[in-house]
């Protein structure tokens, strides 16, 4: 054991020393580059040094370098870390800012260059290109924003597009594919969600089926909420396009009609899934908490225009 430790120490010690030397060398390279005005390369050298051996002194050099390299927000981040929030605030005040125009969607998350930012506030950024990604349950949007001026406010419009959601868990075997309704399912009828255990479940399976029914029911309720949200979104878009049902031109009228059609479809799907989900929740609760029954049989049909459920059992 001692021999192994000695070997490891012998291997690691020079490596650590080399890292320290490299950090010092990188720092010195940064100083040399900074002196001759090669600011961007100097910043890269300071950053490399800080990665190898982080220190407050190096970070202060790096922050100062970033200021000279037109990266006030990166500098501000470092100054905050170094306990100088006043300087950070001053730098951010002069930085360009992104102002988002994104439909307020429940669960909205906005990220700029991978970092989460508030969606309703101006976000200071450095000059340069920025990637803005917005996500919400059932939606995603993305845009690239080139920022090339100081002190400007750049309006960032992110169009949220419906995206396919992960299918709800469906622990029971299904006789045919039963996709969970997705926001872009459009007029496609929701396939029947059936839970028809055959033969009749044994008593030991009651709990499993109860949990499954409740889980599918809950997923259906969530889906219905998404559908209602979508419908609302489409109705709002239609109202915005043609206020008081008055459209500016034929093109707007056609778009408004399409939006209305989509909205109604989503609403109907929402109604269907909410009824089905509610019934499944009741069935799940019954299976879980009701007195023992010899056989049960639950089948639920959820369609575009409604839902139905049959629950039979011999007790």
């Amino acid at each position: 054991m001692k021999i192994k430790l000695l070997v490891i120490t012998a291997v690691l010690a020079p490596a650590a020393l080399a890292a320290a030397e490299t950090a010092d060398a990188a720092l010195q390279r940064g100083h040399d580059l900074y002196k001759v005005g090669r600011i961007h390369e100097a910043c890269e050298a300071y950053a490399a040094s800080d990665r190898l051996a982080a220190s407050a002194a190096t970070e202060r050099e790096l922050a100062s370098c970033y200021e000279q390299d037109a990266r006030p927000v990166a500098a501000a981040r470092l100054y905050k870390h170094l306990g100088d929030p006043a300087k950070a605030t001053k730098l951010e005040a002069n930085a360009p800012k992104l102002r988002f125009a994104i439909n307020p969607t429940p669960g909205l998350v906005v990220k700029v260059d991978g970092l989460e930012v508030p969606a309703t506030e101006d976000v200071p950024v450095d000059v340069g290109p920025h990637e803005v990604v917005a996500t919400a349950p059932g939606f995603a949007g993305h845009t690239s924003v080139p920022v090339d001026r100081d002190r400007i406010v750049v309006d960032v419009i992110v169009r949220m597009q419906p995206v396919a959601e992960t299918a709800a868990p469906n622990p029971s075997p299904s006789p045919s594919p039963t996709p969970t309704p997705t926001p872009n399912a459009g007029p496609t009828p929701v396939a029947a969600t059936a839970m028809t255990p055959e033969p009749a479940p044994a008593a030991s399976h009651r709990k499993t089926y109860g949990i499954a029914a409740a889980a599918v029911g809950a997923a259906a309720i969530v889906t219905s909420a998404v559908m209602y949200g979508l419908a609302e979104h489409k109705f709002n878009d239609e109202h915005a396009l043609c206020p008081s049902s008055r459209c500016a031109n034929d093109g707007d009228l056609a778009t408004a009609n399409s939006l209305l059609s989509d909205a109604r479809t989503y609403r109907n799907i929402g109604i269907g899934t909410s009824i089905g989900g509610g019934l499944l929740l009741i069935a799940g609760g019954y299976l879980l908490f009701a007195p023992h029954a010899e056989t049960t049989h639950v089948s639920v049909q959820v369609g575009r225009d409604g839902a139905g459920m049959a629950y039979t059992g011999s007790f």
């Binding site: 037109a70 000059v127 690239s144 001026r149």
Partner: protein, 220 residues
Amino acid sequence: MPAETPPQPKLVGSSDEDSPGSQLPASLRGTITVDGKPLDGVGLVELYPLDGHYGKRTPKHRVVEQRNKQFSPRLLAIPPGSTVAFPNFDDFYHNVFSSSATQRFDLGLYKGGKSRELVFDKVGLVRLGCNVHANMASFIFVIDAPAYVPVDGATPFNFKSLAPGKYKARVWSERSAEPLETEIKLKDGVNTIAFDVKGDAELGPSPDKFGASRQPQGSP
């Protein structure tokens, strides 16, 4: 560099410009076509004597400016060891970078009125980009050939002063992934030729300096 400095031309650098007064007896005129069609963009023709006897050229000091969200010149040909200044004449930030294998660099962001310089000492093609403005592109050819001329579209190129003999010609266009290489023979007097290159290069903005692909921006 003063703001009133006149704009750079579209093409800069040719052996005839770099060696004025040369009085050799052969000349070569010609055109570049891409897959049989007139060149749309810029190109370059280099000539290497097959006997291998030619001298080195003196490094130059050249300018690639950033003005109206464009690099100018679009194509610059320079001998190895040349220094290129990159002044920004716009009133907003630009960046100059290259991910070309010949010389990778990133000059960072700098405002209008500022300039950065770089020495180019490796032979080859350096494609320039701006990390802020995806549509900006330019090409620097670092050339050790004794004879070279940039080409603008379908406009014929012209080598005014060449020694008769056999040459290896390297012909590139911005529409081509790789240059065409062929041998030619020049006699005394006027020679003419037409080079046809493949149009197999990917069009559109180059990837950003981190390698991510970019979409064209609304206006140049």
